[in-house]
C-alpha cells in the first residue's frame, strides 16, 4: 500500500447524506454527495428508515459519479474508508455493507472511521496541517460536541456534548413550532436577522451552578449542553402570545432562540478551551453555516486569544471526503486496516478513531 500519498475513497452514510469522497494524501479530488433531505421535509426531521432507503438507491450512482469526477478507477485506489459510527444504525449499515463489498471485490484495505473525528480531519483538506492544542466544536442536526484533539490519528477526547437534542434538531423543532418549515437552521437564521435577539430571554440549558461547578471542582455537565428545555420554552412563549390574543412576534422569537443556542454553545466551548489549554479551534458540522454561530464564535475566540478555523461549508456538512481525509492520515501514520468483520456502531465513542 502507498502510505506516503495514498489515494483513498471514503464513504459516508450515517445520517441523510450519501457521500463518496476521494482524496490523495491531503488533497481533495472529489466530494460527491446525494442528500435525501427533500424526502424528510414533510416530516420536519430526518426519518431513519427513509434515509436508509435513500442510501441504498443513491450509493452506486454516487460512487460512479465520484470516480468519474476524480478521474480514477477503483483499481487505482490504495485504501477504502467508511463511517462505522456514530450515526443512525440502519443508515450506517448501508454504507458499511457497500464498503465491505468493495473491499471484497477489489482486495483493497478498508478503514472503519469515526464520523465525529472525520469532521475534524476534513480540516486537513483546507488549510493543511492541523495546529497543536487543537479543539473542535461540532454542531449539526445530529451532534453537538466539543473535542480535544491531541492527535487526529490516535488521541481524541470528548470534553462535552449535548445530553438530549442536537443543536440542529432544536432548530428543526423550533422551526416547526414557528411554522417555518424544514430544515429549521437556515429558516431561523434568515428570519432572526429581522428580530430582536434580546426580546425574550430563553433559558441556557445546564448553566446553573449545580451543573457547572467550578474549574477546580467541575459539576456533572460543565461542558455539556441541553436543548430540550429551550424548545419547550419557545412553545410556551408562542402559546402565551396566542392566549393573550396577540400576534406572535415570530422574528423576535427566532432571534431570541438563536441567541440562546449560540450563546450557550460558544460560552461552554470557550470554557472548555480555556480550561483545557486549547488555543486553536475548528468549527465543523452543518450548523457551522449559521451566520450567528460563526459570528459569535469568531468574536469569542478572538476575545480569548483562540485561533478559529472553519472549513468551507461543503466540507462541514456530512460528506465522504472527510472520511477519506481522516483515513488518509491514518494510512500515512501507519495505521492498520479494520478488516471486513467489524460491526457498525451507532454510538461509537470519539476515543475510537478507527476500528
Amino acid at each position: 500500500m502507498n502510505r506516503s500519498e495514498p489515494l483513498v475513497l471514503g464513504i459516508e452514510s450515517s445520517c441523510d447524506e450519501t457521500g463518496v469522497g476521494i482524496v490523495r494524501g491531503d488533497t481533495l479530488l472529489t466530494n460527491t454527495v446525494s442528500s435525501s433531505m427533500e424526502e424528510h421535509v414533510r416530516f420536519g426531521g430526518v426519518i431513519p428508515e427513509i434515509a436508509s432507503r435513500a442510501h441504498l438507491d443513491a450509493f452506486v450512482p454516487t460512487l460512479q459519479q465520484a470516480l468519474d469526477q476524480a478521474g480514477v478507477t477503483l483499481d487505482e485506489v490504495d485504501a477504502l474508508a467508511v463511517t462505522s459510527g456514530p450515526g443512525l444504525a440502519g443508515a450506517l449499515m448501508v454504507g458499511v455493507c457497500a464498503a465491505k463489498a468493495l473491499a471484497v471485490a477489489t482486495g483493497k484495505p478498508l478503514y472503519a472511521i469515526n464520523h465525529l473525528v472525520a469532521h475534524v480531519g476534513v480540516g486537513l483538506l483546507d488549510g493543511g496541517a492541523l495546529p497543536e492544542n487543537l479543539g473542535a466544536l461540532l454542531v449539526s442536526g445530529g451532534h453537538t460536541e466539543i473535542l480535544r484533539v491531541k492527535s487526529i490519528t490516535d488521541d481524541v477526547e470528548l470534553l462535552g456534548s449535548t445530553i438530549d437534542d442536537a443543536a440542529g434538531e432544536a432548530y428543526d423543532k423550533v422551526a416547526r413550532i414557528l411554522g417555518l418549515g424544514y430544515p429549521g437552521g437556515p429558516a431561523i437564521d434568515k428570519l432572526a436577522r429581522e428580530g430582536n435577539p434580546k426580546a425574550i430571554r430563553f433559558p441556557r440549558g445546564l448553566s446553573q451552578p449545580k451543573y457547572m461547578g467550578t474549574a477546580e471542582a467541575p459539576g456533572p455537565h460543565r461542558y455539556d449542553w441541553s436543548f430540550s428545555g429551550l424548545k419547550t420554552a419557545v412553545a410556551r412563549a408562542v402559546e402565551q402570545f396566542e392566549a393573550a390574543g396577540q400576534d406572535v412576534p415570530v422574528a423576535d422569537i427566532a432571534a431570541s432562540f438563536q441567541e440562546a443556542v449560540v450563546d450557550v454553545i460558544t460560552a461552554k466551548a470557550m470554557l472548555a478551551c480555556t480550561e483545557n489549554g486549547i488555543t486553536n479551534l475548528l468549527l465543523g458540522g452543518g450548523v457551522a453555516a449559521n451566520s450567528r454561530l460563526r459570528a459569535l464564535t469568531e468574536e469569542r475566540c478572538a476575545a480569548h486569544g483562540i485561533s478559529l478555523r472553519v472549513p468551507p461549508i461543503s466540507l462541514c456538512t456530512d460528506n465522504g471526503a472527510m472520511v477519506a481525509a481522516l483515513a488518509s492520515q491514518i494510512v500515512m501514520a501507519g495505521g492498520e486496516p479494520s478488516g471486513i468483520g467489524f460491526a457498525p456502531d451507532s454510538s461509537m465513542p470519539v476515543t475510537s478513531i478507527h476500528l
Binding site: 432507503r53 465491505k100 471485490a105 477489489t106
Partner: protein
C-alpha cells in the same frame, strides 16, 4: 456459467453455483441480526474456498425480499457494490421463491396443487405468497404480501413463518423452520438465467411503508 447468489431476507447467506444449479460453495448464518458483520467475510470465504475470482463470475443474483428492512438492505447493498466493482450483471429474485423451489417438489410428492410460503415479518405478521406446483415446479400466483397470520389463505404452508404460527397456518412439519437461502435462491435463478428468461430488478420489496408519520398540529406545552 458461474453465479454468486446472496440473500439476507431472513438469515444472511451466499452461494456459488454453476449453470447446472450445482452448488460449489455455500455460506449461511442462523443469526438474523448480524448481516452487516458476517456477510462480506462469508462471501470472501466462499470465493477463496472455491478458488474463484470475481472476474470469473457470469452474474450475481440477490434476494429482494420481502424481509425485515435493515437486514434485507445489507444483502442488496452488498450485491450492488460487488456487481459494480466487478462490472457484472446483477439480477433480483423474490426471496420467498427460495423456499418455494423445494416446497413445490414436496407438494407435488404429497399431491398438493396450491401452497403458501411464509416467513417471519416480525410485529406478529408474516410475509407470504401463494404458489402453484406444476409437476414439482413452483409458479407464483399471488403475492408477496405482508399480513397477520390469520389473514393467510388456508393452504399447506411452507417456511418458518408457518412454523411460528401453528394455530393460524397449516404448517408442513418438515419445512416449519425453513428460511430462504442464497443456495436455493441461486437454483431458482439459474433456470431462468440459462434459458435467458427475465429476472427482477434489485429494488427491495419492502411491502410496508416506513413508519414515518407526518406530524399533526403542535402539542400544547402549557
Amino acid at each position: 456459467m458461474l453465479i454468486l447468489s446472496i440473500d439476507t431476507s431472513a438469515i444472511a447467506s451466499a452461494a456459488l453455483l454453476t449453470g447446472e444449479g450445482e452448488t460449489l460453495q455455500a455460506f449461511a448464518t442462523e443469526d438474523t441480526r448480524t448481516h452487516a458483520e458476517v456477510l462480506a467475510p462469508g462471501i470472501h470465504g466462499l470465493l477463496c474456498a472455491a478458488g474463484v475470482s470475481g472476474a470469473e463470475l457470469d452474474a450475481l443474483v440477490v434476494g429482494v425480499g420481502p424481509g425485515p428492512f435493515t437486514g434485507l438492505r445489507s444483502g442488496i447493498a452488498t450485491a450492488r457494490a460487488l456487481a459494480f466493482a466487478w462490472n457484472k450483471p446483477l439480477h433480483g429474485v423474490m426471496s420467498l421463491d427460495a423456499i418455494a423451489v423445494d416446497a413445490a417438489l414436496d407438494a407435488w410428492r404429497l399431491g398438493i396443487d396450491e401452497f403458501i410460503v411464509a416467513t417471519d415479518a416480525r410485529r406478529k405478521e408474516v410475509y407470504w405468497a401463494r404458489y402453484y406446483s406444476t409437476g414439482g415446479t413452483h409458479q407464483l400466483i399471488d403475492g408477496p404480501h405482508v399480513s397477520a397470520p390469520a389473514d393467510v389463505p388456508e393452504l399447506p404452508a411452507y417456511g418458518r413463518g408457518a412454523g411460528l404460527y401453528p394455530e393460524q397456518l397449516k404448517a408442513v412439519p418438515d419445512f416449519s423452520g425453513t428460511q430462504p437461502t442464497a443456495e436455493a435462491l441461486g437454483r431458482t435463478a439459474v433456470v431462468s438465467l440459462v434459458r435467458g428468461l427475465p429476472l427482477l430488478e434489485t429494488t427491495p420489496l419492502y411491502l410496508r411503508e416506513s413508519d414515518a408519520k407526518v406530524p399533526g398540529p403542535r402539542k400544547r406545552a402549557l
